[in-house]
Amino acid sequence: MKGFLSLIDNLGKAVLRNVEEAGKILLLFFSVLSWAVRPPLKFKNIMKQMEFVGVKSIFVVVLTGTFTGMVMALQGYHGFRMFSAESLVGSTVALGMTRELGPVLTSLMVTARAGSAMAAELGSMRVTEQIDALYVMAANPIQHLIVPRIIAGIAMVPILTVVSDFVGIAGGYFVGVHVLQINEGLFLKNITKLVTLNDIYNGLVKAACFGLILSLVGCYKGFNTRGGAEGVGRATTEAVVLASISILVADYFLTAIMF
């Protein structure tokens, strides 16, 4: 009985902790919103973050996107061949990339690359008192540090998703047409016939939401780091785990609403 009660107790505490954390992230989001519309916007910081989140992530995004498209073509081909519908491989790859894999894979890669770096950078700024120094100099850390990162996240993840969609479809085309010898005309025609602009748009809306999630979580974890180098490490890991899970959960609900 005692063991059962302590189980309930621990469960309750875990739920409370998570609800509290979700509330704090939401509060941070509201204060980011209020600082984002208050001039002066820190353009230099925003550009710097856009470069870091966007430009410097292109390589990994291109790599993951290309291979995902290629492997989808390969897998799809074996399935569709069973009922002689190989020409649908192209549209399958294109729909899969634009609706789902483009935004999700891109944001997971950006989480691993940039979301973790946001948590680590803000975390070490916290433990070396650089964030306190901002307060002391009458400058708001949310305005200086967090708003630029979140704007960069929201703006750059959709752009990277466009890149990922494109190279994914190109990878699928290469494998489908040149390796598996699917008829090029049918391959392309089915893509243009079955993929609508809405598939792409909705994928990009998802990507923007994921960009918000990964930057918000990364900044929240970094900003609230406690306890030296170990704390920075913990914040970074927690940021990646929480952001990845949140992206996948949000993906389900966004898909349910939009498609």
Partner: protein, 251 residues
Amino acid sequence: MQDMIQLKDIHKSFGAQKVLDGLDLNIEDGQTTVIIGRSGGGKSVLLKHIIGLIRPDSGQVVVDGEDITKLNDKQLNEVRKKFGMLFQEGALFDSMTVGENVSFPLVEHTKMTDEEIRQVVAERLKAVGLTGVEGKMPSELSGGMRKRVALARAIALHPQIVLFDEPTTGLDPVLTEAINQLIIDTQRNLNLTCIVISHDIESIFRVGHKIALLYGGKIIEYGTPEEIRASKNPVLVQFLSGSTEGPIQIM
């Protein structure tokens, strides 16, 4: 002498741990007050109360006639412009160059042109004994230089009050003396009110016009260096002699 800062009956706890317990302290205008006390005894917490980074559970912090515990963030920011603070490790922004670090408060709070800012930055760096380091990154500097740059940043806006959080900890004796001299010169030249937290007994007597001992969450001794040297307070005597025997318990 007029009081620039008055701390009245400050109480502050973190969880079950009581850090400040009815602390009273007056900081005189245009003087250097050194706060001493054991490690983890709440000195940094006290400093953070003075600049409004931490709010007390109860009590008043009066800066230049204004109780800052009642202010909102915007009003607090106005008060903070009167302050400069030198953090323990300098707290320079490591993504910015030395020049950008020192110019940060100027860019934020003044309407100076780039050229004017460049001049002021060079002037402040010269005041702390550095020239031609504007383009360097903080990671390229030694510990002593970082502290100098941090001091240049702290005095960039011509503050009335400068807070020093253990300015000489971790420095060799020569650098320690250099930083002490820098504090003394800066205080005198700019007529600043300085508050210094220190463990270094020699530095305390060198830079302080007034010395305050924080123990058990209260200021239990306060006076000029001569008065402090002559004090018979057993805690103070033990602290100054560095003895393990006495009222200060070692865990």
